[in-house]
């Protein structure tokens, strides 16, 4: 019965090596972030081209520092970090909140997919240009008539020998306005069942047949785009996986997407900011932090955030041991997404009448934006309804929704 003592039991301390990794990253950020960034001057140019240049520069800095592909294998220029190191990377990055990575689609989704499922030629051609921001990627999945329901997609690829001619429309495409390449799902066969006949192909965005148009969002900003393919051309050698088998490739990529990250660390950061505000803001003659209603809500949010974060820890720890993420990972998006919305809504409420003001420089401008953004975060990549279906069906084994 005593064999249990040969294994280490649950342990929430980090090893010295892990702490060093954390320290290395912290120091790198401190030295390399744009001037004033850590003091809160987060000036990213608003203008399109300047902005792109700024972001590409930042990506190349990240790459030079060795922080562009923390989770990538070393042979592909990554850091080959363990899951716990990735966790530390995510935690510190959320705390620092550096400029966004323009190459996130490439580093987090396309790169790992090509490494896993691409041909040797594809790997050689594309993978090296991802981490340094040389080539920026987007992914073309959703269509106006195929939102969550990818199987209905219609964007058409006609076989022309060595190439495909592509016509159709994609929607909700992040980074399309910067992207050099697109990981695109097209329909190559209309005859079979809807999941069949979809092909994943890499398409050059810098050609005449491709155009894009920003989608204005409720935050009065546009990070999503319509992308139009009008006799665009893709080489057949750029098909990823087998022709007509793109559904499976896409599902694989979407698994990368789901297991990639947690919002929990960003929630902690936002929560800490809230705590500071409550300590330093008076209402009705005493700090908000002494109002019972505020204290109760803060405590409730704290418990939920910690529940989300600790569940993420459990999932990562399990994956470290077994190589497979545990079922706990499935809940992260919807669980933390709903906390996010609740937290940001609460923060804007605390602003009082001033919540009416929406100026980036106003006290609550950024909070209002975060609140609005929380809707987008929940919807993009699968609404809460879809996520609950996934949990119910894939984790718990409940029956699928009724079909006609």
């Amino acid at each position: 019965m005593l064999d249990r003592f040969t294994e280490r039991t649950m342990d929430l301390e980090y090893t010295q090596e892990q702490e060093e990794f954390r320290q290395e990253l912290r120091s790198w950020y401190e030295e390399n972030l744009p001037d004033g960034w850590l003091e809160g001057e987060r000036d990213i140019p608003e203008d399109g081209e300047e902005r792109e240049e700024f972001l590409r520069d930042w990506q190349s800095k990240l790459h030079e520092g060795g922080w562009a592909g923390v989770h990538w294998p070393k042979e592909y220029g990554g850091r080959g970090a363990t899951l716990v190191e990735q966790l530390i990377y995510n935690e510190e990055t959320a705390r620092i909140d550096p400029p966004p990575s323009i190459s996130v689609i490439g580093t987090d989704f396309v790169g790992p997919t090509l490494i896993a499922a691409g041909t040797e030629e594809q790997k050689e051609r594309f993978v090296p240009n991802i981490l340094d921001g040389e080539e920026v990627w987007c992914q073309g999945y959703s269509e106006p008539e195929a939102g969550s329901d990818l199987a209905s997609l219609q964007c058409e690829a006609i076989d022309e020998g060595d190439t495909y001619r592509i016509n159709g429309q994609k929607i909700w495409t992040s980074y399309a306005h910067y992207a050099d390449w697109c990981f695109l799902l097209v329909r190559t066969d209309k005859s079979g069942p809807k999941h069949h006949g979809i092909t994943a192909v890499l398409v050059d965005m810098n050609q005449d047949g491709v155009s894009h148009e920003p989608i204005d969002q409720i935050v009065d900003d546009s990070t999503f785009n319509h992308v139009y393919f009008d006799d665009a051309v893709a080489k057949k050698e750029h098909v990823v996986g087998d022709v007509d088998d793109g559904w499976r490739v896409a599902m694989k990529l979407s698994a990368f997407e789901r297991s990639a990250l947690t919002q929990a660390f960003a929630l902690e950061k936002s929560f800490d900011e809230l705590v500071e505000y409550c300590k330093n803001t008076e209402r009705g003659g005493k700090p908000l932090s002494e109002h019972t209603t505020v204290r109760q809500k803060l405590a409730e949010l704290d418990s939920r955030i910690q529940a989300g974060k600790l569940t993420y820890y459990r999932n990562v720890s399990k994956q470290m041991k077994t190589g497979e993420p545990g079922p706990e990972g499935s809940m992260d998006k919807v669980f933390t997404g709903e906390i996010k919305q609740d937290l940001e809504r609460f923060k804007t409420k605390l602003l009082g009448p001033e919540a009416a003001v929406w100026d980036e420089d106003a006290p609550g401008g950024r909070w209002q934006t975060s609140y609005l953004q929380s809707f987008g975060t929940q919807i993009a990549g699968g609404t809460p309804d879809i996520q609950r279906n996934i949990i119910a069906e894939r984790v718990l084994g409940l029956p699928k929704d009724a079909k006609e």
């Binding site: 195929a146 939102g147 969002q217 009705g284 009082g352 009416a356 309804d385 079909k403």
Partner: protein
């Protein structure tokens, strides 16, 4: 006991709805959001042409003498389209206040003119953008031999550039709550206004500066130091007006979600077949109906000086602003990605609800008033 609408009230709602649809519906709100400065004037004139600016003005000033319930019904329709304009501020706040407190001269000067559509008013309430009424009112008005001198800044005045006159709340005696408050009628020509960027782009806010502004005796509305009680009632009326407008928007949101649920197909089904969508929409509808009942009752209680009125208003405000924020958010979710775009209407209403939710007191503060009344 009859808590239903009269046939005439139903008909008025339909008329206003059709009229506003003809005027452009929610495009009116979008024009305002896009910076079109003419839309408020144009719409106000059209509304005046239909006599609706006369709704709450008493008969003797060429008005229609309608009550708060009737106004709430009218504002439901205005709110259905988030139509821009100081309707709540003029018809719901200023007119009853002037009618209650004003001298004969003041009534003569303002009421008929409002009825005719020639005068619009708003309210300068907040000094502390971070506090809620009555603690918002801190600006001094100095009493001098020649009248009064106002000096200070009101940071959140709705529609200041679109109205002729402001009801300005000042504190002339250092008493707590609504005690020691004096109200003034100030022409907007006499003050400096600076627009503020707002979350709700349909309802502009201005910073209004009073630079040692000297006012005559006849600018005082109601008793010196004693305008607080009436102001409290005025704020209550404004709260009910805001809630009524949100309920109208919520009614429309239910329709929008229902339409989408029937038309949009995913996975081979109209999305409204999925219970998550169905039940969310049913919840939107139920909370809209519940909020509507609270609004009608609060309007009735205010109109009838029922002792339950302050509780009824606080109850309606807490429930409606909170639930409507949720309703408009749910409308976004029901529409998926499309709901998150600028082109979709849900966000216009969401931002409006989020603004009202704390503009005149948070739900928690309203609930404290309810508890006070019940305990």
């Amino acid at each position: 006991m009859d808590f239903s609408l009269t046939e005439e009230q139903e008909r008025m709602k339909e008329t206003v709805r059709g009229f506003l649809e003809d005027e452009g519906g929610v495009e009116l709100a979008r024009r305002k959001m896009d910076g079109d400065e003419t839309v408020v004037d144009e719409l106000w004139d059209s509304v005046a042409g239909m006599d609706y600016t006369a709704l709450t003005v008493p008969f003797e000033y060429d008005g229609l003498g309608d009550d708060m319930v009737y106004l709430a019904l009218f504002l439901e329709e205005v709110g259905r389209f988030a139509a821009p304009g100081p309707f709540a501020e003029t018809l719901g706040f200023a007119v009853p206040l002037i009618n209650e407190l004003g001298t004969e001269e003041q009534k003569d000067a303002y009421l008929s003119s409002v009825a005719d559509g020639d005068t619009r008013l708003s309210v300068a309430l907040h000094d502390e953008a971070n506090e809620t009424p009555p603690e918002t009112v801190t600006m001094d008005a100095e009493v001098t031999e020649d009248g009064y001198v106002l000096d200070g800044t009101k940071p959140l005045v709705p529609y200041a550039d679109n109205v002729d006159t402001l009801v300005v709340a000042t504190r002339t005696r250092d008493e707590g709550g609504y005690g020691g408050v004096s109200l003034f009628l100030v022409d907007t020509a006499e003050v400096e206004t600076t627009p503020v960027e707002t979350l709700d782009g349909t309802r502009p806010l201005y910073e209004v500066e009073f630079d040692d502004l000297t006012l005559d005796e006849d600018a005082l509305l109601g008793p010196l130091h004693g305008g607080g009680d009436a102001l409290r009632r005025g704020v209550d009326r404004l709260n009910v007006c805001a809630s009524a407008a949100l309920i109208g928007g919520a009614d429309e949101a239910v329709d929008r979600s229902t339409k989408h649920g029937n038309e949009r197909e995913q996975y081979g089904h109209p999305v409204g077949r999925f219970q998550a969508v169905k039940h969310r929409t049913a919840d939107m509808w139920m909370n809209m109906q519940g909020g509507r009942s609270l609004v009608y009752y609060a309007a009735w209680a205010l109109e009838n000086d029922d002792p339950d009125a302050p509780r009824a208003v606080a109850s309606a405000s807490a429930f409606v602003t909170e639930e409507c924020t949720t309703i408009f958010g749910d409308d976004i979710f029901n529409h998926g990605g499309m709901g998150f775009t600028w082109d979709h209407d849900a966000h216009i209403f969401l931002k409006q609800a989020r603004t009202w939710e704390t503009f005149l007191g948070s739900p928690e503060e309203h609930r404290e008033r309810v508890a006070e009344a019940r305990l």
